[in-house]
Symmetry: C2
Subunit: 401 residues, 2 copies
């Protein structure tokens, strides 16, 4: 691994595993896009092998993989008909080893960690990334440190904890913890693969490549995904930029990053036409997985979205819960955070920003099983009967719901 | 779909969607194995398409699929080294759409339901099958009825309920409910696709075919899977029997069905050399997903295992929790029910029934996220520090766990 580039300073720098930020402007650094033609290898079993020519890894060690990626792209025909959106698709990232898109990034970051000889890795997270990093760290036999915020729900701790990382609950500001983890990582030789690790972002690219192959080489008109730290969105944008640069495609989709209204620093900056965001004060939303008031790749997202013609928007908690139910009516059970994508599509077609007949892919990022609590507020109707009363219940002759 | 066969009576019968049982002996009926050479289509995206020549479906409707199957087969190298078992593999069925192997069976059963023109489907379940049937029923736009036992945990109801099936909680004996569902299904035109539906069992076959292709055509020496109603095990045995009959392989693996000691009617009958089991009185185990005191395919399992040289064993709750931790130490998070497989392998190699150097595949059937409660008893060690104390904690200089 040689050099990383800063898209703000238009310079490149030697790769420093302990700082994902530009030494000059403090914005995130990225792996430069490949310049020479590359080929896909769709016959390979591992997603990392299929796209290895697009990854900054000299080789792929299958022993570090948990079989991430190669997730289905589903045509949502019934929902299309119901909503009057004729070309609606879902890329189901919940079907990753730890049930979220994070695994794609962790898989590449762990390949990098092992190649560089690290014995210890770490992450700062409250949810999906903690479970993902703990699982891949265990798979690789690396000592894994998970730094948690005070007040992290016990279920989230269990999902990471089962893999026996070192769990450290840290009191204090989350943004400062992010920076402190990198400083201490350098001092003690721990590779902290946080949300915007450049290798993590390379892993997210593979989702875009898969969509491209799954649609038979057609680029969707719109691509919706939840927007939090910005790493996932940058990775997906990067995949389509590379497809275009390398001559595979003649355009890129309009990428739509969706935030929760209760924590929408980037949607606010985008609406104001500002090149930089301000931290979001007093965030409050049920969508914990995308509630980042100070997204580390926020300014990079604003810059790239402006260059590429993307959109950033926000939806309410009520809208995302409604959309979660709509996706479930087609058999998909996702976190409300992931359902922001459908909620935004519904809003933007209603306001005619997005044409109804546009081909739209929703990136469904995490399983609903990770956050059952949000469902507890709306109890499910059910009948209670004896065996003798079952026939009446089946025929709707019992109304005691 | 023409006829089904009874392996006890050695007769065949016209397919009756409302009864999976032989009219003569009341044992489960199976789809006859194909006799003419068949081919795989590994280039296809859908698992159902890859193996369509082995399925009793004239065509596959992709709109009914949720992208089930094509799950990873992982070499567990570090666990192999730790346990002294040099050829240990896991087939990770938790990476199905609703996080369990049930989806493979539901996918085929729903294709059948739609082809036969059913508007209503149903299932009798307390866990994985309820969520799976509700999701696929929603995907297919079918009215879906989920019959639940009184006392089913609220999380399990939420996982199925999100897809808005008709939930009916039925008081009374579970075995009687199973039979009553079929009787009422016939009367009211509802296809109840319960655990031993013959199309469901055909879906489970695909796991065996995938293992065969993933190992490059080598048949593993041993195949471990949890054993409850018997449908899954019959499906897997059937896949290897068909591979042998059709000349793809010259032997079948020793299939090991694993029960929980707290509900082990088939392990008990197997140990006694009995051709038929007796219902298990007063079952009690944390492994709810495999706690079936009166397995409907129980006698068929005993017969087929005897014919094919399989084994049935049981493990304790403590052993399966230990094995759950071992699998998590390699990055896999499964239900304790699924970890019975590793627990059994450890026991059987210790007692020299299974040679240590045998190639063994564990079928990991369901995600640990479905049953977080079992983990709540063993709190995870964690440090609590302030930002200023983080460095000491990282270096192990803080012991306040």
């Amino acid at each position: 691994m040689g050099r990383l580039e800063c898209r703000f300073c238009e310079k490149d720098f030697a790769y420093d595993p302990f700082s994902p930020f530009c030494p000059d402007c403090r914005e995130p650094l990225l792996v430069p896009s490949p310049e020479k033609p590359r080929a896909f290898h769709p016959d390979k079993a591992l997603s990392l092998d299929r796209f290895r020519e697009f990854l900054p890894l000299p080789e792929i060690d299958p022993a570090l993989s948990l079989g991430e990626g190669s997730t289905p792209l589903l045509a949502l025909d019934r929902l299309s008909a119901k909503l009057g959106l004729p070309a609606l698709f879902a890329k189901n990232e919940t079907m990753n080893p730890t049930l979220s898109f994070k695994d794609r990034g962790t898989a590449v970051a762990v390949q990098n960690a092992r190649r560089m000889g690290f014995k210890r890795i770490g992450t700062v997270s409250t949810g999906n990334m903690a479970a993902s990093t703990a699982a891949y760290g265990a798979r690789a036999g690396l000592e894994t440190i998970v730094l948690l915020k005070e007040g992290t729900p016990e279920e989230n701790i269990l999902m990471a904890g089962i893999h026996r990382p070192r769990l450290i609950v840290v009191e204090g500001d989350y943004g400062r913890l992010f920076r402190e983890s990198l400083r201490l990582g350098r001092k003690h030789g721990i590779l902290f693969m946080n949300s915007i690790d450049p290798f993590r972002i390379e892993g997210y690219k593979l989702t875009g490549f898969e969509i491209f192959l799954q649609t038979g080489g057609r680029i969707p008109d719109y691509l919706f995904l939840p927007l939090s730290s910005g790493g996932h969105l940058v990775g997906l944008l990067k995949s389509f930029i590379e497809l275009k640069q390398l001559g595979f495609a003649d355009r890129i989709p309009v990428v739509v990053g969706v935030q929760a209204e209760g924590c929408a620093p980037l949607a606010r900056a985008f609406a104001a036409g500002a090149p930089r965001f301000s931290p979001f004060e007093n965030p409050g939303t049920i969508a914990h997985a995308i509630s980042n008031p100070h997204p580390p790749a926020g300014n990079l997202v604003l810059k790239m979205m402006k260059e590429q013609g993307g959109l950033i928007t926000a939806v309410s908690d009520r809208e995302m819960l409604e959309a979660q139910g709509l996706l479930a009516s087609e058999g998909l059970f996702c976190q409300p955070d992931s359902a922001t994508t459908l909620a935004a599509l519904v809003n933007l077609t209603r306001s005619k920003v997005v044409p109804r007949d546009a081909a739209a892919v929703l990136v469904v990022t995490g399983s609903g099983l990770k956050n059952l609590k949000v469902l507890e507020g709306s109890p499910l109707p059910r009948l209670r009967v004896t065996l003798a009363g079952l026939e009446d219940a089946l025929e709707g002759r019992t109304t005691d719901a």
